[in-house]
Amino acid sequence: MGALIQMQGISKSYGPVHALEEVDLTVGEREIIGLLGDNGAGKSTLIKILSGAIPTSSGTIAIRGERVSINSTSDAISQGIETIYQDSALVPELSIARNLFLGREPLKGPAFLGWMDQGAMSEVARSLLKEVGIEKDIPPTTPIGSLSGGERQSVAIARAMYFDSELIILDEPTNNLGVAETQGVLRFVRNARDSGHSCIFIAHNIHHVFQVVDRIVVLRHGRVVADDIDPEQTSVEEVERIITGMEG
């Protein structure tokens, strides 16, 4: 499996506090990795650097071996890196279709008018909703605010899949979701891999991580302490011990 993303020697300091120290992280093509660690381990900082939300203090990022600079979320999106946060980064007042295409609205007519092709947006939204497994017949004009938590996550994942993001980062996507909704999100993650995407999956619930990932990476105190844990060969308890540092 070739490497899609290679982060090397990533460090991040906030004044005297070292949030990350010399972190290396590799994500393969069509690979789902689980990024685990206790609170303050540096997971979110690492992900924010990769998604362009914050700059790194030192280190390099390469995509398919080519060094890239990611200085903003727009940079990350244009490099094919999409992040789905706990709150899905959606606009509650906008419709499903408008959220899906926010920032990349398809236009019709002269470009300077900025006239959205709402017919095309609705059509794509309708088929995407089916693709990600939303069984209910929800019109694409429905505001995101009236969807359930799981449905919102599904829309966010659908957006990442539609725009052919090569790497989808899911930051606590199953937080505050019910059992059925969580299973839906996990199913979408597997679908994403099957359709050629790579994922970084962050969740506090290790059991959720074990259900979908190919490999587990553990961070502790801003450093990588394990990066090749096979969830099929390792127990949840062992991983918990690595996370807490109480290895027996």
């Binding site: 959606l90 509650p92 007042e93 408008r98 990349r104 609205e105 900025g114 006239w115 959205m116 505001p143």
Partner: protein
């Protein structure tokens, strides 16, 4: 209940529309002069001037900001224009262009303060209100600028010239208002810019994460709002033959009330130009109607306050129903 009726009721414009219809009917019942040609003509003339500001404010509030300096710009822009013209510094057209460009600049400064320095728009535009109003008063010594020879100028005809349709005397400003309402409604509902405006107010972080330039979007809306206030002020100065530096005092709150009554969320994210048009007419017809039916004009604020509270309660109830899938 049939689904199309449910959909209709859930629209933010529905409540203001029903209220407007009820008001027209009640005032007309109590005093038939309410719908006389003369009364309609007089009411429309002033209504659309405030309405122009409310239309631009709708977009700004949808983006999550508001502008308290619009009332002072309503007074300042015509003062600047007529001072330039009356002192022979510039032709009327150039004076008009300078007045609008100055308003745009003031909007730009407000926008930069809000977006770059992260100061709430309430504080920035409150400060700007005082600066602009103070400047208008200082340069005029508090006296109105003469505009009584303006009516024959081609620019004045273009902005406020009157014409008669089926016995109803109307001003050109009505056409400007209709054009602005149509264009801004299309902008908000059909274009990429409209999508960005709503996203900026609904969840600015999510919008930024999608590559939306939230700051630039808001700055442009501050500029539009300021320019529209200046434009409305110039129209008003020609119609009333006076450019008074005190004009527009208190208009900012009346305009914001028109916008929220129409269904635009004060917190941003949701806005409706059609609703604002209803809001504009509700407030102006209320002012006109209560005088016609003999209620003391001083009681006007009681009615307006009650309408605002009632409409907020209605919008909040509709929102909750919508969230619950009702």
């Amino acid at each position: 209940m049939p689904s199309f009726v449910k959909r209709l009721i859930s629209k933010p414009e529905f409540g203001p529309f029903v209220l407007l219809l009820a008001m027209v009917f009640i005032f007309w019942e109590l005093n038939p002069a309410f719908l006389s040609l003369r009364n309609i003509s007089n009411t429309l003339a002033f209504t659309v001037e405030l309405g122009l500001i409310a239309l631009a404010m709708t977009l700004l509030m949808t983006s999550g900001e508001f502008d308290l300096s619009v009332g002072s710009l309503f007074g300042f822009s015509p003062v600047l224009m007529w001072t330039l013209y009356n002192t022979g510094i510039a032709s009327i057209e150039i004076s008009f262009a300078i007045a609008l460009a100055t308003a745009l600049g003031i909007g730009l400064i407000s926008g930069l303060f809000v977006t770059r320095l992260k100061i709430p728009s309430f504080l920035v535009t409150l400060g700007m209100l005082l600066v602009v109003r103070g400047t208008a008063l200082y340069v005029t010594n508090g006296f109105p600028q003469r505009t009584w020879n303006a009516k024959d100028l081609p620019l004045a005809q273009l902005l406020v010239g009157d014409f008669t349709v089926a016995g109803l005397r109307l001003h050109m400003s009505l056409l400007w208002f209709i054009a602005a309402a149509v264009l801004l409604s299309i902008l908000l509902t059909r274009t990429k810019t409209g999508n960005w405006i709503q996203a900026s107010g609904g969840n600015a972080n999510a919008a930024r994460a999608r590559g939306v330039d939230v700051n630039r979007t808001k700055i442009k809306l501050f500029m539009l709002s300021a320019a529209m206030a200046g434009f409305a002020g110039v129209i008003s100065s020609i119609r009333t033959a006076a450019a008074n530096p005190n004009s527009g005092t208190g208009y900012e709150l009346e305009v914001i009330a028109m916008v929220v009554i129409g269904g635009t969320a004060l917190t941003g994210g949701r806005g409706t130009i059609i609703g604002t048009v209803f809001g504009i007419f509700i407030l102006r017809l209320m002012r006109n109607g209560i005088v016609l039916i003999g209620v003391p004009g001083l009681a006007y604020n009681i009615f307006i306050g009650t309408i605002i509270l009632a409409m907020m309660a209605l919008h909040s109830w509709l929102d909750r129903r919508h969230q619950e899938g009702g």
